[in-house]
């Protein structure tokens, strides 16, 4: 019997596909829709200490295989988030709480405030490429910052901690190792790429109101595969591969590179809410053809020999 069940950080997942943070993670209703469409787990849209309006529109658009966004971490803040996510059990699959901050204390404050919400893990993005004060633009992606923030967060929660990194880091394996050393339970590799910019040639203005934005979509898959491949051998903790996964083939490649979890976000844009079911079925079909019975037989095989 073929199974794509996955045991990830103690979460029993029906499949390794995890809704990535920032997409359809605004409410219990939105995440339930994704769970009903086959996701193994879901991640909330990141929550900060204070309410954030984010950038003006346009915040999102696509050019073929390239999807761009500069939402700017809009979120209602931790006090409202407590109400918003009070009944997450209704979602029906494990829920990962994504928490952002401009300094280590902020991450801790949000985690403590959301302490009563029954998240299954906490994700800490240190990698947003387009929001001042956060992620790459705040230097959170360096090995030192990753170590410091992970260490602080480790003391604040007993839940598994996932550190989300940027493919931009020149010393990716060192950052991943620093997070692992500080107590991270998993690495999410990674965020959107860039930032990039597209200009409307009639008005001469950048399309995104923030001018620059993160790049996602099928175009970035090869970079994610390479990044997962690079860090797989340098850390022992599991990896979620996020960035470009749109088809079963992308998912299989990501697992072969070493990913145990598979983040899917922009894939919804290209294939609909049921992209999760579609990818899961494509993985199963391929396994059947190849005679594989479980995902263990696939994960990391690109490193053998």
């Amino acid at each position: 019997m073929i199974t794509i069940k996955s045991d990830f950080l103690g979460m029993k997942l029906s499949n390794p596909l995890i809704l990535a943070s920032g997409i359809m993670g605004i409410s219990v209703g939105s995440m339930k829709k994704i769970a009903d469409n086959g996701a193994g787990a879901v991640t909330i849209k990141s929550i900060s200490k204070e309410e954030r309006l984010g950038h003006n529109n346009p915040t999102m658009f696509s050019f073929g295989d390239v999807f761009m966004n500069a939402v700017g971490y809009s979120n209602p803040g931790m006090i409202e988030a407590k109400k918003e996510f009070s009944d997450i059990d209704r979602i029906g699959v494990p829920v990962i709480g994504s928490v952002i901050g401009t300094k280590a204390d902020d991450f801790v404050a949000v985690i403590e405030e959301l302490g009563d919400i029954r998240f299954d893990a906490i994700e800490i993005p240190l990698s947003c490429p387009h929001t001042p004060g956060f992620g790459v633009l705040a230097g959170q992606g360096t090995p030192e910052a990753a170590y410091r923030i992970t260490k602080a967060v480790r003391k604040a929660t007993r839940l598994p901690i996932i550190i989300k990194l940027s493919a931009n880091a020149p010393d990716l394996t060192i950052v991943a190792k620093a997070a692992e050393k500080a107590g991270a339970d998993a690495i999410n590799m990674g965020n959107t790429h860039g930032p990039g910019m597209r200009i409307d040639i009639d008005s001469g203005k950048p399309i995104l109101d923030f001018k620059v934005g993160g790049i996602s979509g099928p175009a970035i898959t090869p970079v994610t595969v390479r990044c997962v491949y690079d860090i797989y051998e340098s850390i022992k903790i599991p990896i979620i591969g996020t960035g470009g996964i749109t088809t079963g083939r992308d998912a299989i490649e990501m697992m072969m590179a070493g990913a145990l979890g598979l983040g899917v976000g922009t894939g919804i844009y290209y294939r609909g809410f049921d992209v999760f079911k579609k990818i899961a079925n494509e993985i199963k079909d391929w396994m059947e053809k190849k005679g594989h019975l479980s995902l263990k037989e696939i994960i990391g095989v690109a490193h053998e020999g």
Binding site: T59, M60, F61, Y269
Partner: protein
């Protein structure tokens, strides 16, 4: 592969429709547009917002808007040949109307219904506004029923009263289409339920992507931009957020009245 970026278009014309109500016309580049669907309108370096289409002609489309906040003030001040961007059409529109469909619009909600009012029996359109000077399309739909809250034009009162009169008079009515404030649509749904008529409403929420990815426009378990904005009434009945809550830009859920106030400054 999909492309969803704003396509720049020169403004062909801006016309004043009523007090604080204008229509901007651009070339019709929409493929297979269904009334009730919406487009995202971009003013470069300003913002981008969702709008219905009020004039659907072979060569051009018109978008009617009320001047309220920063965006609409800017749009009303633009001139012929200035550039705006359009992306879409997005969402699910109204079903095909037959001649015995009743079409009800309140305030600026009339705009996305106007192309449908052209298709139904002339006396089956009901248009309401607070006052005569804010009433849309008085000349475009001369035989429609008009109501104003203050009685300055047409019947004094609400569009829902005309609907109830029409339904109780046993006129042949196949279905009811409606767009306006949610309190009005909520009442229309109740009336349709009483007379066992199919009813479709068009919802408005603050949007970002417009194509069902970000979740900003969630209303209960509905993704308004993608599963709506037009819903059959049975699909929103019992929705805990319809006519009660909406999300502002941060994603914070607030009472609809607070949302409307916030929107009028945006």
């Amino acid at each position: 592969m999909r492309d969803d970026y704003p396509r720049s278009l020169e403004i062909l014309e801006i016309e004043k429709e009523a007090k604080d109500l204008f229509t901007v016309f651009v070339k019709n580049t929409l493929d297979g547009f269904v009334p009730g669907q919406f487009v995202m309108v971009w003013i470069p370096s300003v913002d981008e917002k969702p709008f219905g289409v009020s004039y659907l002609e072979k060569d051009r489309i018109g978008i009617t808007f009320e001047v309220k906040g920063k965006f609409t003030k800017k749009l009303a001040g633009m001139k012929k040949a200035d550039i705006i961007g359009i992306r879409g059409p997005y969402g699910i529109g109204f079903p095909d109307p037959d001649s015995s469909t009743i079409v009800i619009g309140g305030g600026c909600g009339v705009s996305s219904l106007a192309p449908l009012m052209e298709k139904v029996k002339k006396s089956n359109s009901i248009i309401g506004a607070r006052s005569k000077d804010m009433l849309l399309f008085r000349n475009r739909f001369k035989d429609a029923h008009f109501t104003t809250d203050d009685g300055t034009f047409g019947k004094k009162g609400f569009v829902t009263e005309i609907l109830e009169e029409k339904l109780s008079a046993l006129d042949k009515v196949s279905q009811v289409f409606c767009c306006g404030p949610e309190i009005m649509m909520s009442r229309v749904i109740e009336i349709c339920k009483k007379y066992r008529k199919k009813c479709f409403i068009s919802m408005e929420r603050y949007m970002k992507c417009g194509f069902g990815v970000c979740g900003q426009c969630m209303c209960g378990d509905k993704v308004v931009c993608n599963e709506g904005p037009v819903f059959e009434s049975k699909d929103v009945e019992g929705n805990p957020e319809f006519n009660h809550f909406a999300r502002i830009k941060s994603g914070k859920k607030v009472p609809v009245s607070d949302y409307v106030r916030w929107r009028s400054c945006e």
